[in-house]
Symmetry: C2
Subunit: 434 residues, 2 copies
Amino acid sequence: MNDNSALNIGVCGVGTVGLAVIDILSGGSEMLSERSARSVRVTHVGARREHPGHQYGDALVCRDVMDVARDPSVDVLVELIGGTTVAYDLIKLAISQGKHVVTANKALIAEHGNELVRLAEAAGVQLRFEASVAGGIPIIKVLRESMAANRVSEIAGIINGTGNFILTEMSTKGRAFEDVLAEAQALGYAEADPTFDIDGTDAAHKLVILSSLAFGIPLSIDAPIKQGINEVTPEDLEYASALGYRVKHLGIARLQEAGIEMRVHPTLIPQSKQLASVDGVLNAVMISGDAVGELVLVGPGAGGAATASSVCADIMDIARNESGSGPALGLPAAQLSAQPFIPSGDIVSEWYVRLTAADRPGVMSDITHIFATHDISIESLMQKPPAAGAGEVPIVLLTHEASEAALGAAMSEIIGLEEVQADYALLRVEGFGN
Amino acid sequence: MNDNSALNIGVCGVGTVGLAVIDILSGGSEMLSERSARSVRVTHVGARREHPGHQYGDALVCRDVMDVARDPSVDVLVELIGGTTVAYDLIKLAISQGKHVVTANKALIAEHGNELVRLAEAAGVQLRFEASVAGGIPIIKVLRESMAANRVSEIAGIINGTGNFILTEMSTKGRAFEDVLAEAQALGYAEADPTFDIDGTDAAHKLVILSSLAFGIPLSIDAPIKQGINEVTPEDLEYASALGYRVKHLGIARLQEAGIEMRVHPTLIPQSKQLASVDGVLNAVMISGDAVGELVLVGPGAGGAATASSVCADIMDIARNESGSGPALGLPAAQLSAQPFIPSGDIVSEWYVRLTAADRPGVMSDITHIFATHDISIESLMQKPPAAGAGEVPIVLLTHEASEAALGAAMSEIIGLEEVQADYALLRVEGFGN
């Protein structure tokens, strides 16, 4: 069965992405063989359940995915199962059997990547995960290879396609959150359990991977500060728009003098900026490097074929050169070097604040006075006239730069005022990029 | 002098990019060594003239650049001289001496790349040219590697930074062409002889390289249809803006059933599209592939450090793996396969037409009738009121899709009308992309 020049691929997991990978490798086999000067073929498929109607060409179907990792004829194991249990065991087994591994599994790389990269290095195999961040956008390769001569100071991006789709629909069409979420699930963008898309965990995993590549630090799953799109209300989207902003869920990682800040959160971006108009399931990542300046990459952040394009790019890189193009994280695992993370309270940005107060003289003066005592300047302030009969009015304001700690302290005092309700909304504002 | 694990670099040409490459390699030597697990160092500099004040570290300076190609201790020759004479001889010599070559020279690759790639393949060395297209944007790597599993159907981009800078300044600030050109030269964006930036030749060279990578065809320097920014008048920029468009100089290559169309020309793009807001020296390239869909990359298209970032990425790739990551043009030279090019007259697009006619009843009817007889539909038409006392009025119209041949035939008839002046402006309109 082994042909020396052929590269035998075992695909484990036959969801949307797995099927698209099999399609590309089968349908394009002649093209791929020409481009890599060897035959690239799916010889094994690991599928725990039977899926009537699925076509796997003449690949051997294994009900136990571990059989794919054990079969000596498999050269590359493609892990598209997801999660951090079976996938973790499977990849460890494949590495121990001397196989290259390609995965789209951001949770697994963020959580266990340090160990897996070390194991792969020790075994002399490649561990590749282009598809784990930003779907079809080749952001891993660009950071690892194209930016290899740059000191990266900042990454910022829309790196959760589902979340961006939901926010876009809510803000451009005024649709309700639950309604859009259901559509995202029907379209195959969101998982059956969309918790990670909604609470920011998925974006945090991706930011952890990008930060390791950008700053040469170990994968640090607990580092990002995390706020999800579930904290954005329709009225905040409306106010943001009235103020000239769009709300996007961003991952931001910056190298500062005091350390690295890493955060994922809904963010107000001026409408004129490039990232503000990246809508739907599109993702976009901005990288800032000392030599190149700013690069922005935009492309589909979800969807089977787009993600499979990245998986297959990794496979083609292996086919073209099994000895690889450098360490998986840009530096050998042993040389990744931890840096301090800036605590949430110290991270400075501009802020959007929405609160509700009694429509009574003196309230505004009290609120602005409290901000002033915390050294927070107000950039603009908008008070809506109360609805007929209502005694409460929403107050929306934008501040100049302030730390989260300073803002938090001011807000505790403000909601301590008798005229102000305890509920308020707080979103960061960023004006970077083109 | 030779240290087995070190990679010795000879940089030939010490203009803006050459100096920036030397700076990056010297200033970042520790970082680059960590990232490639070997020492990467500039050992030779080829500079035909003395440049007082230039710093080359402890590199050996050669007045005859051929000496750099001949020195057996040099592993990688970096050609940053430009042009197609000395650079051509130098690269051939370096390849024959078994050295890897990195160049930013688009004219040379477009004109002699087929031969040079074959020579490099035969010699078993790498020939790399990331910096030859779109400055700091890693478009060569993305096409060659990240899109390796895609059939590319279209590339379109702003790939001449100087031209885009000039058009941007003219259209946003109403500045005169000559004035902006002089500034572009002072800023180091434009060459002393800016002919190639202005007449579209530079963009055509870059499009030739991108098309070879995208479609697997040999480099075909004569294929692109070419129109430069010198054909855009300030009044066209104003009319375009009034109609909701921006004028950008684009390179476009598309795979059609009848063959490949390749063209560089000023183009009206709807203001809402992403490419329309890529201003100044920024470049942007959109690629459309069957698996990934649309990717857009935006970044600095000119400038020493940004271009040097791409040169150094090529060097780092070589440092990390001298056996390379596949063929220079995505396919081995022998497998590049020519395809027919669609002749200019057959290329279909929407059109912007500006002409001048006597302000007399019946003229508009005559003009629109001629378009109708050529089966060209008019999308919109704008007739400015004549200036006081003037008997002539400018007429601006946008057509639906028509071939250049059909439009040309209609225009000959139209300028044959007694009331219409012989002078007119014709620009293509494209509405693609995000």
